[in-house]
């Protein structure tokens, strides 16, 4: 995957062609086990360090979420929620936010610039900056509110799942750094199996609703969560319950495009045939006659 030869590309933005899939790569996935995450932000630090990102230092706003939101230089962010469960006990829910690398990526669907967003055959959705035009359509296409546009160069940025590391057989920087193994990286099937084991353990510890977050609505994701309360993903800092690409975006980027173009073409063609059939509407000599008279004020005489 070190280069973007079509061999390794599953999908590319603003392309009407589907690259032929010749080289098979295992689908990869990052599994974030929220139940063993301690919110230490090692992932955030490792991400900044590996990707040479240093966002602006912000103010303390009363919560541990720093920076306060994802931004063009913050590709992953711990989000902290103090949640009191049904029994009245406090649970400190800590979720690592960032690109989910959807199988059906809304950003890619929305992107108008060919090759600015690609999905490799291993499932990673990557932004190719030099093709990015900074229109922000990816922001609108994303069901998870992930991409951010830089004010410095007007390009969209988000987690690359460390495609440069994965390409040489290393885990993403966040997964490697994670001290407690809350972030695991491997083939998607292995990660699903691991998640299954974790869910059994969590069930035994009293989390009856523990489950895997790998939402169908976006075709599954290549970043998955093990949640202790999988029935209520929204308690984890508004993780969408049933995410899907917005109907509006589907309309906008789906059928509307060919229909609109066809409609316009039809209008033009209709004009052409009208001309062919009805012919031009030309001013006749008698019109000129009448006109001149009228102009001279004599037509009503």
């Amino acid at each position: 995957m070190a280069n973007l030869q079509s061999l390794d590309i599953l999908r590319s933005s603003a392309s009407t062609e589907t690259p032929s899939r010749i080289r098979e790569q295992p689908e990869v996935a990052k599994l974030i086990d929220v139940s063993r995450c301690i919110g230490c932000k090692a992932c955030q630090a490792a991400c900044m360090e590996w990707n040479d990102l240093r966002p602006e230092m912000e103010d303390f706003t009363g919560v541990y979420d720093n920076p306060s939101d994802l931004n063009p230089s913050t590709w992953t962010l711990m989000r902290f929620t103090e949640w009191e469960n049904e029994a009245g006990n406090l649970e400190w829910l800590i979720r690592k936010d960032g690109c989910m690398h959807c199988s059906d990526p809304g950003c890619l669907k929305a992107c108008p610039s060919p090759g600015a967003i690609v999905q490799y055959s291993n499932g990673i959705v990557d932004f190719v900056s030099e093709n990015c035009i900074g229109c922000g359509y990816c922001v609108k296409g994303c069901p998870f509110n992930i991409p951010r546009i830089s004010t410095a160069d007007s390009k969209a940025y988000k987690c690359t799942l460390c495609s440069d590391r994965v390409a040489v057989g290393q885990a993403p920087a966040c997964a490697k750094a994670c001290p407690t193994g809350a972030i695991q990286f491997g083939s998607k099937s292995d990660m699903q199996e691991l998640a299954h084991e974790r869910i059994i353990d969590l069930n035994e510890r009293g989390f009856k609703q523990a489950g895997l977050y790998d939402p169908e609505g976006v075709g599954g994701t290549h970043v998955m969560y093990v949640l202790h309360h999988a029935d209520k993903p929204q308690i984890y800092a508004n993780l969408p319950d049933k995410p899907h690409i917005s109907r509006l975006v589907q309309l906008w980027k789906g059928m509307f495009k060919p229909i609109a173009l066809a409609g316009l073409a039809f209008t033009a063609v209709a004009g052409f045939f009208h001309y062919v059939v009805a012919g031009p509407n030309e001013v006749q000599p008698e019109d000129e006659e009448h006109g001149r008279k009228a102009l001279d004020g004599k037509d009503r005489a």
């Binding site: 973007l4 955030q44 630090a45 440069d164 073409a265």
Partner: protein, 197 residues
């Protein structure tokens, strides 16, 4: 003007035509894919094994530096990550360890010996010889003046209580040993480390 008008009509026509063609699925997009993802930034860097400087988990780290040690190149540390072979951290790091690079290259690192004279509001840069000569002179003056060879009961105690020292908590055992030797050979007893805080 006529020409212009015709020109723009043709252009519009082309646009319409292209639109129709596009709608039918023709189009090009292949060129964009020729570009590459970000090059792997550790290629050809030098890997050095080290230990994280912060807590006493003592995670193994790999320091990557640019420059292969050739005569005309000076190594610059460009990246630090966990040592996967290390039995304790197994490649992982905490948020401090994962950001070690920024402490190595901190803008507030001291680069030159600095001296602040009595009453001054800031430091000025001095030479090592100035600094060490002056420190040694001040120490000797104080030691010679205040060294206690015998206590009131006449027991030999050989202690120096008017100059003290705090030893570091992140320096090596070798530094520690040399420090112990030097400080105790002077008879220093006001001597402690950071174990308690």
């Amino acid at each position: 003007m006529e020409l212009n008008r015709r020109g723009f009509m043709r252009l519009s026509g082309a646009a319409l035509a292209a639109s129709s063609v596009g709608a039918l699925g023709f189009g090009s997009s292949g060129e964009a894919l020729a570009s590459a993802v970000r090059p792997y930034k550790l290629a050809r860097t030098t890997e050095t094994r080290n230990t994280c400087t912060y807590c006493a988990v003592a995670c193994g780290i790999l320091i990557y530096s640019l420059g292969d040690g050739a005569k005309n190149s000076k190594a610059t540390i460009t990246h630090i990550e966990g040592d996967p072979d290390h039995p304790v951290n197994r490649g992982t790091l905490c948020p401090k360890g994962a950001a070690l690079l920024d402490v190595v290259h901190s803008p507030t690192r001291v680069k030159y010996p600095m001296y602040r004279a009595a009453g001054e509001s800031g430091f000025k840069r001095v030479s090592w010889d100035f600094a060490l000569d002056r420190v040694a002179k001040l120490m000797k003056e104080d030691r010679d003046k205040n060294f206690i060879a015998k206590n009131a009961a006449g027991t030999t105690v050989n202690r120096w209580t008017t100059t003290g020292m705090l030893a570091a908590s992140a320096s090596s055992n070798e530094t520690a040993f040399v420090t112990w030797k030097v400080a105790r050979s002077f008879g220093m007893v006001v001597f402690d480390n950071q174990a308690r805080v």
